[in-house]
């Protein structure tokens, strides 16, 4: 029996291939964008894990030099003799790769790079001096070295790990070390570091600065985009399922009248949808893989630009996102079909076929929809007032978008009813009433369009506001015409002597990383003067911030630190055990993930007496000549000098690539919405004939009817675009004022870009007209015999 019924149910799809295509396309699109984003996230997270596992970054305390870049072998030996359990590390660039030298006998065993595989022989390792690399890196490295390569699966990309002796040879740094990894457990009663090696200092493990955590917000953003695209795709699926159930209403009644039990019918229809979900989901995951492969290079660039996180540019097929893609596709299908299945299971057999029953239920559904929309918008307002944290920010976004989408059909209905009441002539009256009648069939596609456009307006406003702010910020911060770097303390002193008579100002940049207000931060010493006070703007400041800071009586902090520590202008901040100073100014610091405190150079020297400035900003009226003089007369290498234009261009290019991904996702989401409109109009076209036949019979030509269909699509798209604008601006406000503050620690001013919005509105209406043109053309060429059938069927 089940096979007979299944065949009958399937026959509907066989006779309605377009509807089947729409359903599968919706599932494929929804799953593809979602699993594409998941694939990118999974790949990035795997890269962070690999990086952390390679060197235990963030896991272990480290010992580093107080000044300069190197630790001598003698200091290391002194520490070992004193009982310190430390492992030496040398690190540098070699052939474009990050080369890390480790001592496999002393390095912590949890590091993936030193974990011996089965059959590993230490004697062979020390004798042959192989380079440990990931498979991807091995491919790149094969022609560059004759040393044996040892593949270690979890190693970070472009990272080479070798025995410390081999690394010192390759880096031409015999006897030098970069840092020492401190084992988590140390013997009791050790002499302090200051006693054994006063030239070194201990850097605690910085769990808060862990790259995985910093990038979480970025991945959450991507996931939100994936979810939005998924929602748009599921709207298409919901529409296709609803339409299919509606069209099969008569069949369902017949089947029930012939003795098919309701439970069997529901189970078979649910099974049918499950099969579609598996097919659509499977194809969707494969498409997602392709999308991820396209997006990953930009995501990798973004993560490196924003956070300095290295992500492999190639994709692996991971079971986790394959499963998550299929699971969300099945879940989404269940969600999209639950209403239709529920209605099917509730309506009694003698009522199933009556359109009125379904309409009554649909009437109830629209009341429920209005109530849910209002409830969601109310929650949005509450969350905007009292919500805290990134999750609350995204919950707010979700409620706002979903509430607005659910409210859209009701708003459109009210507007169209208004248009109808203002119309005096018969044709416009019919047009508005008929357009209103089409809303239930088109509402899901219009909701998808609303969400896609709002996301576009919101994200582009956020990105463009960010861009404007960022360009202004670069102009403020990068005021020096040249930036130079000395190799060591001697060169630093010589450089200052050389530059002072040849420039307007030499501004040493000295920094030290330390925990400030419990957060990983950079302490900067600045030679405060007109260069700073003329160029830097504050987000909030005391009356005389520069004077106070120059006198060493106050500090200036970046916005991230101020917000994360809950401090603001006038609050005290502790710099050391003996020193707390008030905050005189809070400055914007975009693109920097951690806190920053700027103090006067003299105060910095008091706090960090051994610090030697190696970096300098140089003010000059003729930067080109000075650069040449630095190379020709002073002997500085070209790579030690960067001019202002180059550094600005580099920063901007990083910024542009950072948002390439969101741009691509924006376009994909809009394309999905356009597709939703096309499919809705095409599926509705067949159902429109009985509604249009009487109007045709009353004297309207088929051509005119086709034109009216186009105008209808234009009107609905334009109205949706109109509603999308305030929604998109609200979305931008949430992103700028809530999500960014939580994710990055900075709040950006919001700018408006009317020309961009107008362009987007035009784009959406053109897309809607294009989507409507095929169904309209079909209608205008409909044979009169098909229109006449409507009347013959009414006998």
């Amino acid at each position: 029996m089940s096979a007979t019924i299944a065949r009958a149910l399937w026959s509907h799809w066989r006779r309605s291939p377009l509807q089947l295509f729409t359903l599968l396309a919706g599932l494929i699109l929804a799953t593809a964008l979602w699993s594409g984003v998941q694939a990118v996230n999974a790949e990035a997270r795997a890269s962070y894990d690999a990086a952390a596992a390679t060197l235990g970054e963030g896991q272990f305390d480290q010992i580093i030099p107080r000044q300069g870049d190197d630790i001598t072998q003698a200091s290391y030996i002194a520490l070992r003799r004193a009982g310190w359990q430390v492992a030496p590390v040398i690190e540098g660039r070699w052939n474009g790769f990050r080369l890390i030298g480790l001592d496999p006998l002393t390095a912590p065993a949890t590091l993936s790079s030193v974990q011996p595989e089965e059959g590993f022989d230490f004697a062979d390792y020390l004798r042959d001096g192989p380079l440990s690399v990931s498979a991807d890196t091995a491919e790149k490295l094969r022609d560059l070295t004759e040393r044996p390569l040892r593949i270690v699966a979890d190693l970070a990309l472009d990272t080479v790990v070798a025995d410390i002796g081999v690394a010192q040879t390759l880096l031409r740094a015999e006897g030098k070390l970069t840092r020492l990894i401190v084992a988590p457990t140390q013997p009791m009663g050790l002499p302090t570091l200051a006693v054994v090696a006063p030239e070194l200092r201990l850097e605690p493990a910085q769990a808060d600065a862990d790259v995985g955590r910093l990038t979480d917000s970025f991945h959450l953003n991507l996931t939100a985009f994936g979810l939005l695209s998924f929602a748009v795709g599921i709207f298409i699926v919901h529409g296709a399922i609803g339409l299919a159930f509606e069209q099969r209403r008569a069949m369902i009644r017949t089947l029930r009248a012939m003795g098919v039990p309701l439970a069997v019918l529901v189970i078979l229809m649910a099974t049918e949808l499950l099969v579609f979900a598996l097919i659509g989901g499977g194809i969707g995951v494969l498409c997602g893989y392709a999308i991820a492969a396209l997006l990953l290079p930009d995501v990798a660039a973004t993560l490196e630009g924003l956070y300095g996180a290295q992500v492999a540019g190639t994709l692996q097929f991971r079971a986790s996102w394959w499963m998550s893609g299929l699971a969300i596709c099945i879940g989404g299908t269940a969600l999209a079909s639950s209403g239709a299945l529920w209605r099917l299971s509730r309506v009694s057999v003698i009522e199933t076929g009556r359109a009125q029953t379904w309409r009554t239920l649909s009437g109830k559904a629209s009341v429920i929809q209005a109530v849910v929309a209002l409830a969601l918008l109310a929650i949005t307002v509450v969350l905007a007032g009292v919500g805290q944290g990134l999750i609350a920010g995204f919950a707010l976004l979700g409620c706002l978008l979903l509430g607005a989408a659910l409210a859209l059909p009701l708003l459109l209905s009210v507007v169209l009813a208004g248009f109808r009441s203002f119309s005096k002539q018969a044709l416009p009256q019919w047009f508005w009433a008929d357009t209103r009648q089409q809303l239930p069939g088109l509402s899901l596609a219009l909701m998808a369009l609303l969400l896609a456009m709002a996301a576009n307006v919101g994200v582009s406003t956020m990105v463009s506001s960010f861009r404007l702010t960022f360009v202004g910020f670069l102009d403020q911060r990068l005021f020096s015409e040249l930036y130079v770097r000395a190799d060591d303390a001697d060169q630093s002193a010589a450089l200052q002597r050389f530059l002072t008579p040849r420039s307007r100002a030499v501004l040493p940049i000295v920094e030290e990383r330390r925990q400030i207000a419990g957060l990983p931060s950079e302490l900067y010493g600045a030679k405060i003067g007109p260069s700073y006070s003329d160029n830097w703007d504050f987000l909030a400041a005391a009356e005389t911030p520069w004077q106070d800071a120059a006198r060493g009586q106050a500090v200036l902090v970046n916005e991230q630190l101020a917000r994360r520590a809950g401090l603001w202008v006038g609050d005290q901040i502790t710099l050391s055990d003996q020193l707390s100073l008030p905050i005189a100014g809070v400055f914007g610091d975009y693109g920097n993930p951690i806190g920053q405190v700027v103090i006067s150079q003299s105060l910095f020297n008091t706090l960090v007496p051994d610090a030697v400035p190696l970096n300098f900003g140089v003010r000059s009226d003729d930067a080109r000549a000075l650069r040449q003089a630095l190379i020709d007369d002073f002997g500085l290498r070209d790579s030690q000098i960067v001019d202002q234009d180059t550094i600005k261009a580099l920063s901007l290019s990083i910024f542009e690539r950072t948002f390439t991904v969101t741009g691509a996702l924006n376009i994909l989401t809009l394309a999905v919405a356009g597709f939703a409109i096309l499919m809705s109009l095409l599926t509705l076209a067949a159902m429109r004939v009985p509604q249009l036949a009487p109007v045709w019979a009353l004297g309207l030509t088929r051509r005119k009817l086709g034109q009216l269909e186009l105008i209808r699509a234009l009107v609905l798209a334009a109205l949706t675009a109109l509603f999308a604008l305030p929604l998109g601006l609200a979305l931008a406000w949430v992103l700028l004022a809530i999500v960014n503050v939580e994710a990055f620690g900075w709040r950006l001013p919001m700018y408006l870009f009317p020309a961009d919005y107008l362009k987007l509105g035009l784009f959406a209406t053109v897309a809607a007209i294009l989507a409507a043109s095929w169904p309209a053309l079909k209608l205008s060429r409909l044979p009169p015999a098909d229109l006449l059938k409507v009347f013959s069927n009414e006998r």
Binding site: T4, M258, G259, A263, I350
Partner: protein, 217 residues
């Protein structure tokens, strides 16, 4: 074969329950043909739904083949419709996505009584032999109703219920279809209950019962 005893049914209305059937009793035997007539809203279709297990009576008893079917569950009533009782609708209710051949075979397959030769013979008797690969939308109203009759009879039910079977057809076609239906039902030995407004249709039945305000007049 079919016995109704004091059957009652009411529906919820805006001003309280509306009594649609008020103590209806009658009996139908194998091979009987019965017309149920009455004005609109008299309860004819409701009575047909109760007999066919499409709906449940509130009071009284309906027994079929000596078995009380008044309070059967949904699954048992579905089984009854599947194999014992066939329904022919005014609106034909063919499955639009199946061709004529598959439509005719459909209920017989559900009842596990499909006999390809018998189905083909039935189609031939109803003049549908050239239409088997067509879809319902490609047929005239009369042809569609013939397919509906063939579909019901191919399953060889003991009782055929017809709700205004010719109500959607013109006079000539209606007469033709009715004659064919009566002949075929008689050939299978099934009983037939027809709801109709038409005195001509009622006149061709062995017995006529008139319903008025939910009671047999």
């Amino acid at each position: 074969m079919l016995k109704l005893t004091d059957v009652t049914k009411s529906y919820a209305g805006a001003d309280g329950p509306i009594e649609v059937l008020r103590g209806v009793s009658f009996e139908v035997n194998t091979g009987d043909t019965l017309a149920l007539t009455g004005e609109s809203g008299s309860g004819k279709s409701t009575l047909l739904h109760l007999i066919g297990g499409l709906d449940q009576a509130e009071g009284g008893q309906i027994s079929f083949d000596g078995r009380d079917i008044t309070h059967l569950g949904d699954a048992e009533r579905a089984a009854l419709r599947r194999s014992e009782i066939g329904v022919i609708f005014q609106q034909f209710n063919l499955i639009p996505s199946l061709d004529v051949g598959a439509n005719i075979a459909f209920q017989a397959r559900l009842a596990r009584r499909y006999d390809a030769q018998a189905a083909r013979a039935l189609a031939t008797k109803l003049g549908l032999e050239g239409q088997l690969s067509k879809y319902p939308e490609q047929l005239s109203g009369g042809q569609q109703q013939r397919v509906a009759i063939a579909r019901t009879l191919a399953a060889r039910p003991k009782l055929v219920l017809a709700d205004e079977p010719t109500g959607n057809l013109d006079e000539d076609t209606a007469a033709q279809v009715l004659a064919e239906m009566l002949a075929l039902v008689a050939a299978t030995g099934a009983a037939l209950i027809t709801v109709t407004h038409s005195p001509q249709v009622a006149a061709q039945m062995g017995q006529t019962l008139r319903l008025s305000h939910g009671q047999l007049a």
